[in-house]
Amino acid sequence: MKKIPRMTVAVLLLALLLSMVGCGASDGKTHLSFQIWDTNQRDGMKAMCDAYTAQHPDVVIDVQVVSWSEYWTKLEAAAESNTMPDIFWMHTNQLLYYADFGMLADVTDLYDDVESGYYQNHFSDISLGNVSGSDGHYYGVPKDKDIGVLVYNKEMFDAAGVAYPDDDWTWDDLTDASQKIYDATGNYGYLAYLDDQLGYWSYVYQNGGYILTADRTACGFNEPGGKEAMEFYIGMQKENWCPDQNFFTQNGAGATFWSERGAMFMEGSWSLLGALRDHPEMTGKWDIAKLPKSPNPVSTPESLDKDGRACMSNGLCYATGAHGKNLETVKDVLKYFGTEEAQLIQGQSGAAIPAYLGTEESWRVAFEQYGNPINVDCIFEQFDYAIQVPYNSASPRWKSQVLDVLTQIYAGNQEVASGLDKMTETVNTETAKKLAGN
């Protein structure tokens, strides 16, 4: 065995040490990381950060995009080891889980020195619902809001001689138009695919039903309004003008619409700019409308009296970890993100519809580069009767189980009525378990 010269070992060790030291930044500035999941919004987020750092030259913010599929696994692992990014996007679906475990910094009093009731004055109830923990405190600064719209192909409507969807459209008009378009052009009508936020949720609420009660403790899938809506929504796939779930799983509703094989589908407001960019050949051929309303909503004490109209709305927020190293600086950044100025930058960049009341319409600017080809008005009008997406702290547990029952219903292995009973029971059991545990 040859001896390794001491000198070599020493040099190697020194190199190792130096490389470790090299990792720390030493420009005297505070470096913050900002984690998001949507590449399309990176530029908008950067613009907002640049506006902040222009006023605070001692802060550097690095925007990092992590794909949605690994975002939550990574964030949870980071939370466990206390290495969360300084600022990150939070989703309604996950906020309660993180907040209830004390992982998120409480930002309720962030604006106390600016204005009392800042949050209530400048954000909608839905936005505030999306950032509230179970204790009623705010754990994030509202970022944006979204809504579902009916996207339709004008050429197919023209070919079938059917009038475009208008504000008074009901479910009956939707099915009538679908039948006529199918008969006249051979293309599919409304693409009723299995989805919650962009599918059955809206129908349930339009019909006077509910997924969760207002206090989010009980489920209403099998209440009369919900039941009727689910039967209608699932039943659409039995019509000749609507493909079945086999088709949607393999082809996707969006791809079917954009390849001009279907006349209508429900899409989220967040996808519209991307659609204009990705399908330039379709520009001018399509438009958007409000979701059709229920013709005969069931009236119950829990149902929201909205004349058969309802539309699910969700919103993200900016949050930070409760035990972050740069908490004071980060809070100042978050505070800026919730100002009118920052939200306007976000809107004008086309990233998303800002949550700050009064700045929503800044988002319209983004459509100018395409020549304003679609009726963006209907998006803003729908916010008048929007409903917060139904999540509670047990959502991660019941969501996949509910989906399992739904796929069984679509597969024909389960009756709708008994399936809804099963779904209701699942949600109630998981919610009760969660409530008992806390």
């Binding site: 065995m1 796929t407 024909g412």
Partner: protein
Amino acid sequence: MNKKMSAAERREENWGWFMVAPTIIGLFVLNIWPFIQTIYTSFCEHLGFGRYKFIGLQNYIDMFSTPEFWKATWNTVWFCFLTVPVGMVLALFVAMLLNTKVKFKGGFRTIFFLPLVCAPAAVAMVWQVIFNGDSGILNQMLGTHIQWITNSKTAMVAVAIVSVWSSVGYDAVLLLAGLQNIPKTLYEANSIDGAGKIRQFFTITLPMISPSLFSVLIMRLMSSMKVYDLIYMMSDDTNPAMADMQSLMYLFYRSSFVAGDRGYGSAIVIWTVCLILLVTLIQFWGQKKWVTYDI
């Protein structure tokens, strides 16, 4: 024997330990310790963010009383039945063809090995297009209208086809190595004795490559029992046939990472490990009957 080691010997031994230390530490930190943790986790309820509450056998009781779990176990076994025998026979067939004197042998070997080099995600995507019920090329060739991926009867078959397709090349290369180690003299002696090709196959080829076959069989069975990625990529949460193509590892993924129920997920993993252990033990016992290590 109680011989004291000399200083030089001891130093050499220390160096030996030092050299294998990275591997041993890596094995312990990355494999053994997580495995012990998984066993412990399977007796716990995951409260969130790495906090666990010991609940004894509750996860196992829940698991064994869930039809979904038994369905997933059956799906996994069914997948093994679909892939292992067919895959082995095909691999052996391909290996034997590649071992004969054909033109462009190198080219053929490359082609059969190619699936292994392709990114699994790309493979799954291409096959999704092939299997598409409305515009897929497979239905057009067969003149059928089968919804391969979303029909509960064919979904697992479709996944099995892709699995066999992507593994045959690799298995064939392993078997080919075994085939090439068979001395030519055996065949010569055999044909002088008047044996035909078929008899040669059963009396010489098969016994001689049985060790290779055995290792391929074990590997193939283990990977089939752990099938997850193909199902994840070829299917979708909204697939009506999901219940019929959900393997144990897929159920584990959904429990642990979608529903966040890591305790229950760990119980599924332990069950799968036990199954694999059992199958492997049976095989090691069974190999005495058919694997020949020396002639």
